[in-house]
């Protein structure tokens, strides 16, 4: 039986349908979780999709974190439940303190919509295990105004030490981008960080959009591995509901 994965819809979410489509193709049974729901209806994992939750007024993600569904997600995450935030979903997770760091305005101070390359730093996580190789460049689009990853040096050191940096911006050949490489790391993210997880490893966020690069017809299938990782991890979690996600580390 297909594993149930919840896709949260805030007013202003606009990648929810794309995410549902990608999860569906990956063999999951996606269900939509409305922002006012206080229950996650027994899903095995949750995806916070991209968009402009509550219009992103004040600051991206800052209002969404107070919604009823986020309280439920906070409890779910604390129990080891799998949560993936994509783009605006990552911003919401960061604002809610479920993943470390913050997303600042892009270095250009403009919205940026284009393909980038990222690479997973490790494959032993619920969000990356189905990828072919660590360090291999994965081409997929970014589309955001606030995607410059920021944290203080001590936090960044700790993230790197503890393996919480999941994805980095790389060039076409897979070499790690520097912070001032405008071609490969166009948002200016510190230490070229494109995605992180929490310390327990069950909550992760990334700025690029794997769900838009999960079919050959769209020009890249590189994102499919991330989606498939989540679906397989969720299926395992559904069979053994006690924090398998953490165990997978």
């Amino acid at each position: 039986m297909a594993v149930r994965i919840g896709v949260v819809v805030f007013p202003g979410s606009n990648c929810d349908r794309d995410t549902v489509h990608a999860l569906d193709r990956a063999g999951a049974e996606p269900i939509v979780l409305w922002h006012e729901e206080a229950s996650l209806r027994g899903v095995a994992a949750v995806v916070l999709p991209g968009g402009f939750a509550y219009g992103d007024y004040l600051r991206a993600g800052v209002i969404a974190r107070f919604s009823p569904v986020m309280r439920a997600i906070g409890a779910f995450a604390a129990d080891g439940g799998l949560v993936l935030g994509i783009c605006n979903g990552f911003q919401v997770l960061a604002e809610a303190g479920l993943v470390p760091g913050a997303l600042l305005r892009n270095r250009s101070l403009r919205f940026l919509g284009r393909d980038v390359h990222i690479a997973a730093t490790r494959l032993d996580t619920p969000f990356t295990h189905a990828l072919a190789a660590a360090g291999a460049p994965l081409r997929m689009p970014v589309a955001h105004g606030e995607g410059c990853y920021f944290a203080d040096d001590a936090t960044l050191d700790a993230l790197e030490r503890d393996g919480e940096v999941l994805f980095r911006y790389v060039d076409e050949a897979g070499h790690r981008a520097s912070e001032d490489d405008r071609a490969a790391n166009p948002t200016g993210s510190l230490r070229a960080i494109a995605g992180v997880s929490n310390a327990a490893g069950n909550v992760a966020g990334l700025m690029p959009h794997p769900e838009r690069a999960a079919e050959a017809i769209l020009g890249s299938e590189a994102g499919a591995g991330i989606i498939r990782s989540l679906v397989e991890s969720a299926a395992r979690a559904a069979r053994q509901p006690v924090a398998v996600a953490v165990g997978a580390r």
Binding site: G12, C15, R17, P141, R212, A214
Partner: protein, 774 residues
């Protein structure tokens, strides 16, 4: 006019209603004078923008019929059936004047307005294309406008989650005081969900949902869109609407849910003319009347006068006709999406738009304390609005319209024999109009929706349709530089180019939407340009067998510097039955043969080359043979469907050499080619004669391709082979074989440029022209 004189000016004139028009209003009111509220409503509805009072007689001449057309002009957007129970809705519209005053909000609300036209039909918006035209890119004001408009398009489109997948950015001196912001939107719907903008039946409720009504955009249609600009006039700023894409996103979802659940009888968005326009148009379409209770309309602020409420163009509002028993569900849907919703009136059977203060009773009759403050026949505001028969006369030119290809004498301004073709190509590729638009479209989300197969930057946009093998292909094209020479030809050329750009992907063009940007129609020369443009549009659509399904007319595009060059902007949507057959412009494989289909003909006027090299006083623009165009497009589609084509690229701005350079750059492989330059290398390499396509094909496919071309009467010329990392074009013919003395010292008889140099010129052209740091 002095302030004192303006103060004693009668109200109707201050509202832009002429004395003749006031007389016509009296006729429609049984001889009585309109009161002030009624006059304000007429002033908006009889504005050029809402009534098409100058252009309506011309627009009637356009071909609109087609076997797959489900909804045509007169509805909010054209709708064409694409099989599988699906249909595509599309339309282009202008927001020129608001964008000149306040570029961010002007452009943003332009996007919002055209998206509402799409989802009002029951279609989910799936793509935006923005066709933008500005003055000199080196000018500080232009740079301010470009930056604001691009941020506005992105700010709105990105937030509502509709990808911006194509469009144009063109610089031309004639837009210096009057930029053009034309936005096209495309939506996809299940045909059975098609919803029309009608008021339903007498007794139905009139429901307003979305944002509350405020004082923004008062007189947008009449003040801004229907008068010539005096200058950057700050007094017009309050007439610009303010957009809220977050509210629009909620409006999209709520509207589509209402339609999906069959809760509305008719749906109309509120744009120009606000509540007055939405209620009178829907009533007129249904042959009904509407009674509006002014007090029931949710306001943003207290103290608004009735006329302000009735003509406000506050954004992100929708008006629905709802059966009374459906109201609780409608209210629930809107409330769940966080949208204010209110019953503001009832559909009646008297044919009048009636405004009361105090509220109607259950039967739609005004209550005792209610006061009727306006009553006008709905049709007087809409289908029976005044029509002006304008005078047209061709402009007196300094010289008679020239014939294409008049033999040029030796001229240092058009250095036929003194040019280095490689340097000219690099200059063209790096020019403000032909260089990469990446700097612009990277500010747009072009991939949200996960349907974008081909996004901006490489010809027509391609969007797959989930759950089918089909794809939609869309493009916009306009041609102002030929427009100022020959407005008839410019319109026909724009249709030819836009449809060709669709055909070279393998898709069949379905229909045409148009945005006709012209000057002040009360000037006979400007009206002549409009009339010629419509004639060209009609002839081209007839010849290519395409219906015009809707569009928009933008007049009064003038500034103190003069009128814009006539700019008929053409949007085309095509259908590709099997996306596996999709052809793109990039060279695909080394060793493939390169062919030119179609014939190169004389005439350089209006070309990018002439813009660079200077005017050739004697020359004219190249002629268009619509029969040849139709044959070429049909051939290309068939060749692609048969799998004979590796790549297909249209020859347009910058001519054959530019088209070849694009195929090479985008395919990351060079080519070794020979081009017959005749007696004019400029025409052969850089001329923009229409009805030409560059194809590449695997060696094994070439014989079949040539046979098909011959059978269909399309001239085909083999140019050479794909391969290497340079674009090399050897010139053949009289123009290239003169003695070195005759040719001049800088002359080359071959063009030989590395791909890296092509790409550098192409990549850096636009940021450099705009002075933007990259």
């Amino acid at each position: 006019m002095t302030l004192a004189e303006r103060a004693v000016e009668p109200l109707h004139r201050r509202l832009g209603v002429t004395d003749d028009e006031l007389e016509a209003i009296r006729d429609r009111l049984g001889g009585r004078d309109p009161n002030d509220l009624e006059l304000a409503m007429f002033s908006v509805m009889w504005s050029e923008h809402c009534s098409y009072k100058s252009s309506r007689p011309l627009l009637r001449t356009l071909p609109t019929a087609g076997k797959d057309v489900v909804a045509g002009p007169g509805e909010n957007a054209g709708v064409i059936s694409i099989g599988d129970g699906l249909a595509v809705a599309f339309k282009i519209e202008s927001h020129n004047h608001p964008s000149a005053v306040e570029p961010y909000q002007g452009a943003a609300t332009g996007v919002g307005g055209i998206l509402r036209d799409i989802f009002t039909m029951g279609a989910r918006p799936i793509a935006i294309l923005d066709a933008l035209r500005f003055g000199d890119p080196a000018d500080a004001r232009t740079r301010h406008l470009v930056d604001g408009v691009v941020r506005g398009v992105g700010g709105y489109g990105n937030c509502v989650g509709v990808p911006t997948v194509g469009g144009e950015l063109v610089f031309d001196r004639s837009y210096q005081g009057n930029p053009l912001v034309n936005v096209m939107a495309i939506g996809l719907l299940e045909e059975r969900r098609l919803t029309l903008a009608t008021a339903g039946q007498p007794g139905d409720l009139v429901v307003l949902f979305g944002s509350a009504t405020g004082r923004d955009g008062i007189g947008g249609a009449s003040v801004l869109a229907s008068a010539t600009f005096t200058d950057d006039d700050p007094s017009k700023r309050p007439s610009v609407q303010v957009g809220d894409p977050f509210a629009e996103k909620l409006l999209i979802e709520a509207s589509l849910e209402l339609i999906e659940r069959g809760l509305v009888e008719g749906l109309q968005d509120l744009g120009a003319g606000g509540i007055t326009c939405a209620t009178s148009e829907t009533a007129d379409r249904a042959g009904a009347g509407i009674l509006v209770d002014l007090d029931a309309i949710p306001r943003r602020e207290p103290g608004m006068a009735p006329f302000e409420v009735m003509i406000s163009e506050s954004q992100e509002r929708m008006c629905a006709a709802v059966r009374a028993d459906r109201w609780p569900e409608v209210r629930e849907v809107c409330t769940r999406w966080g949208l204010p919703v209110a019953i503001i009136g009832r559909v009646t059977d008297d044919g009048d738009l009636t405004i009361v203060e105090g509220g109607p009773d259950e039967d739609g009759h005004a209550l005792a304390p209610a006061r009727e403050i306006a009553r006008v026949p709905a049709r007087a505001l809409t289908s029976d609005a005044i029509v002006h028969e304008r005078v047209a006369s061709p402009p007196t030119r300094e010289r008679p319209a020239p014939a294409p290809g008049v033999r040029l004498g030796p001229s240092d301004r058009l250095p036929e024999r003194g040019m280095d073709p490689g340097a000219v190509l690099l200059a063209l590729l790096g020019s403000a109009n032909l260089s990469s638009r990446r700097t612009i479209f990277e500010q747009y989300d072009s991939t949200v929706g996960a349907d974008t197969v081909v996004g901006p930057g490489h010809g027509a946009a391609v969007l797959r349709i989930k759950g089918t093998t089909k794809a939609l292909v869309a493009t916009t094209d306009g041609n102002q530089s030929v427009g100022r020479l020959d407005p008839y030809l410019a319109a026909a050329l724009s249709v030819a180019e836009a449809t060709r750009n669709v055909s070279i992907t393998g898709a069949r063009p379905l229909g045409v939407t148009n945005c006709l940007n012209y000057g002040d129609p009360t000037r006979p020369e400007a009206f002549w340009e409009l009339r010629e443009g419509v004639r060209g549009l009609a002839d081209a659509c007839l010849a290519l067998g395409l219906p015009v399904t809707g569009g928009n007319v933008s007049l009064y595009n003038e500034s103190p510097a003069g009128a814009i060059a006539p700019t008929p902007e053409i949007g085309v949507v095509g259908l590709l039955e099997d996306i596996a057959t999709l052809a793109g412009p990039a060279f695909r494989d080394d060793g493939d043969h390169v062919l030119l289909l179609g014939e190169t003909t004389a005439g350089l006027a209006g070309s990018a080359y002439v813009e660079l090299a200077g005017e050739a006083a004697e020359d004219g623009p190249p002629a268009l043979d619509l029969g040849r165009e139709a044959a070429l497009q049909s051939f290309v589609r068939e060749a692609i469907a048969h799998g004979l084509v590796a790549s297909a690229q249209d020859v347009s701005g910058g001519g054959l050499a530019t088209a070849l350079a694009e195929c090479a750059m985008w395919g990351e492989r060079g080519a070794d080619l020979r081009v017959a330059a005749g007696d004019s290398p400029a025409v052969g390499l850089f001329g923009e004669s229409p009805s030409r396509v560059v194809l590449s094909a695997a060696p094994g496919s070439v014989p079949a391709l040539l046979r098909l071309a011959e059978a269909q009467g399309v001239p085909a010329t083999e140019l050479g082979l794909v391969g290497g990392d340079r674009l090399r074009i050897e010139l053949r013919g009289a123009g290239a074989t003169g003695s070195p003395e005759e040719r001049g010292s800088r002359v080359a008889d071959a063009l030989d440029v590395s791909l890296a140099d092509l790409r550098l010129a192409w990549d850096r052209g636009l940021p450099r022209a705009l002075g933007w740091e990259d």
